[in-house]
Homo-oligomer: 574 residues x 2
Amino acid sequence: MRENIVIIGAVALGPKVACRCKRLNPEARVVMLDRGGRISYGGCGIPYYVSGDVSDADELQSTSFHMLRDAPFFRDIKGVEARPRTEAVRIDRAKKTVLTRNLDTGAEETLSYDKLVLATGSTPRALPIPGADLPGVHAVADLDAAIAIRAALTAGSVGRAVVVGAGFIGLEMAVALADMWGVETTVVEYAPGVLPTVLSPGLASMIERHMHEKDISFRLGGQVTRIEGDGKVERVAIKTPNGEEVMETDMVVMSVGVTPNTELARAAGLECSARGGVVVDGNMRTSDPSIYAGGDCAEIRNLVTGKPFFLPLGSLANRQGRVIGDNLCGISSRFPGAAGAWCVKLFEQNAAGVGLTLDAARRSGLDAFSIIVSQFDRAHFYPDKAFMFLELVAEHGTGRVLGVQGVCAMGDALVGRIGAVSALMPHRPTVEELSLLELPYSPPFNSAMDIVNVLGNVGGNVLAGRNKSIAPQEFARLFAERDGSDVFFLDCREHPNAEPYLKAYPGVWHNIPQGQLAGRLKEVPRDRKIVLVCNSGARSYEAFVTLAHAGYADVVNVAGGMATLRMAGADPKV
Amino acid sequence: MRENIVIIGAVALGPKVACRCKRLNPEARVVMLDRGGRISYGGCGIPYYVSGDVSDADELQSTSFHMLRDAPFFRDIKGVEARPRTEAVRIDRAKKTVLTRNLDTGAEETLSYDKLVLATGSTPRALPIPGADLPGVHAVADLDAAIAIRAALTAGSVGRAVVVGAGFIGLEMAVALADMWGVETTVVEYAPGVLPTVLSPGLASMIERHMHEKDISFRLGGQVTRIEGDGKVERVAIKTPNGEEVMETDMVVMSVGVTPNTELARAAGLECSARGGVVVDGNMRTSDPSIYAGGDCAEIRNLVTGKPFFLPLGSLANRQGRVIGDNLCGISSRFPGAAGAWCVKLFEQNAAGVGLTLDAARRSGLDAFSIIVSQFDRAHFYPDKAFMFLELVAEHGTGRVLGVQGVCAMGDALVGRIGAVSALMPHRPTVEELSLLELPYSPPFNSAMDIVNVLGNVGGNVLAGRNKSIAPQEFARLFAERDGSDVFFLDCREHPNAEPYLKAYPGVWHNIPQGQLAGRLKEVPRDRKIVLVCNSGARSYEAFVTLAHAGYADVVNVAGGMATLRMAGADPKV
């Protein structure tokens, strides 16, 4: 069937659609255009190109067998007509045409289509502040922008940099600047913590602390109000809760989110959502049945909330691309949506997650709670291991898993756990399913009782009222307010572990090893709030059971224990 | 509720049941006995103790906070009465009693129970051959056996060893002997490949070749017929397809599987299966409603076949233990069964899997096929990465996923992928669900199109008849028989990759780069079987599409490409 297929956008989704189409229907004529000069590259690799881990920008645009994915490659190898530096000016849905313009020659051409695909991607948001257009202010927009950043670094003209935004790209760029190039880097973030949309305050502070140890400075709760300089960036003004600060800098990297590119779609009268994305159905089809959209420019269904959301990720674009390719060729195929799985490597720490954070769940109107569990990522007797911190967000009543997030120095191990939970998310798992989750087991890889199982177990105990836990921030608040309160802090570890705290906080910090608790109940007041703590949360849970059984009413357990408090910087200083 | 709970067996399941019980019902009296002197240890860690990775046997018996889990620990910390060196002689179901005997004093005692739990575990199978009882012949039965093996190694009296059985424990023990202690080690396995029940021949040969490179010798298809020596092991006789071989050795390690310990259950008239395990229902209850069983002594439901099977793994024992603990305390809890997830680290390679191999699926009467995919475990432009090999076993017609197995030098990355598939298995996923599987994505951890998605895509293409692939062994067979056949071997890579093969096999090996194929169809005969190969299977699939579109009927594609052939040792030698 000789069909004309036109694809607007040729970075991630576009090429996938084009290639799938040509394989399913080799007779089809597939034309793919892009405003950029470079096409079909791994945009997610930009921070690794800036850092130097990836030595040449071409590598991001190459196949694993080292062929450059440029227009000749698509023509010769894929049978796809790729047109870089070509803009789609206007869609005429009635005539089924796209007016295109070559950005170098200005030549215009009208392309007919039977089916049209919008793969127009997204654009970094710009802050409407003075000086945002000064040379030296960069957005991580595309490979060309990355090349400009790296050129400045290579030239040695960048000693200090300010990154605006502590999302994935902002933090990855901060690492790239500081780690390889030794740039003195400050990250300014409007929210009170890093990765604010995907991590709880407790886990976020673990990442922030680690990056701080690696000499990244943070201005959390801060806002860049203007950029100054004489012909190029020289200073930024940052408004923080403590006032305004002016900081000298040689470079500003803006990473305050992206906006879906929907101008063409809107101009053509296609349905777009208020928040910005092109609206598509389960087949990735827009309100015009001849037009599909996917990737960063489209909204998809959130599998947890059931509502549309915007999740610009190359991995989703690839999977959506295949679905669109199928549908274009008569194979009915659906994209079910996404639970929002993500991961990020930052120096020697890693964070990953899926689904909603506690904040996001509550903002969605769900009656949610969260718990943190800490445990070695593999058998505790195995030589190479790291503590893993996982947070479960679940719904009261139903016990439904709404999200899991985590931090661990062993990145693959963490991503593996989150991947397993993510695989379950379309099936709306309950906490009990985490308890029973079957993971491959051997001591070099995990414990007989994997941390995901433990997460389910602790969640189940909380749901059933058999355990009550508090997050690191809540512990820190209670401890900070200890003078005016009657909270009884009870350390359930053996004496040597508790000793420094007993010395530092006499009368406040108490110690009864968990094994002795049942016999020493006299020492535990019945009229005060009891906060139990051990190293990982396991023994304090046993202590919780003992106290609950003895009729104590107001007892809480620090989930994840001192290991978690310490990692989050919420432990009492000794 | 003051209930008497007796648990027979105190290694993995027993302690978990006991502790869960005491937490749910602190009033219960819980007695746990075991024939062994050591209780509550991580038996799966034995090879790492033998290797020296774990320096002291106590570590396997300790909590993560370094408390030894012995009888006083269970008494003081858990409120559980643990009785090591105590045998359960007989169960009287009518009277609800267990007759016990102290193995040191011979003292007998009758314990009453309200509920009884059988956690009797399994025993290594012994080969009924002459000399099997000679000193120096070891089974990996328990921690004491491991201590004996390590003592012999430490004494320096072991220069050569023979391991009988190439299952998980056999191979892990071979690594432990060879890697740390420099013991010249030979593995004898009755089946034609290593890990025969869980890996296809193609993947198995990858592991075998790697271990061989690390100086492990193999006698596959071999059988130890007798062990000889004057007061201790000196020689073993091995029958192979090529005759008998007598090999000198200082140690024999037997690891030819385990048998569930069901003597007590059978004597008490509880239902046991022909294959050996105690039969339990979804609540892990035996045919006597007051008696539960779990762990290595019980059969569970295979989630893929729906039939009972026997899977002795510490991780399953732990999860079953919680289920039994719940049920003992009035919380109805079900253990759904297992898909059979596993993983193993062997020198610098790793294997993992879940579900059925192609052989196992066919033996179960399923109309199954398999494909192998090879791809970097993370973004191909990321510096540290390894090729991963995944094999999908799926059902024709339904497209149901029956199993996935894999090999990769990056162990956590492999285990993460298998874990994600394993999480899905209770939901009976189709190949399409693998295509759409949402995994956390970032270049340091995976590709935008993860290998699991690719596995689903390739599987989907095969199901739809859009791709036809052959396994490494099938390629090797076709290539070995090339002289008498009319097979046309077509290398779709660029010329420099193909050149050595063209020189070595003139007239047999042909080369048309995939991008040129459509224009050079004249060179491809229409009356011969075409075998397409590239590096990873991606370009040969494109070539397959081109040939199929041009009307070629008998074309196959080497799934996983030369990378897979090479890793499996099935590539033509050049």
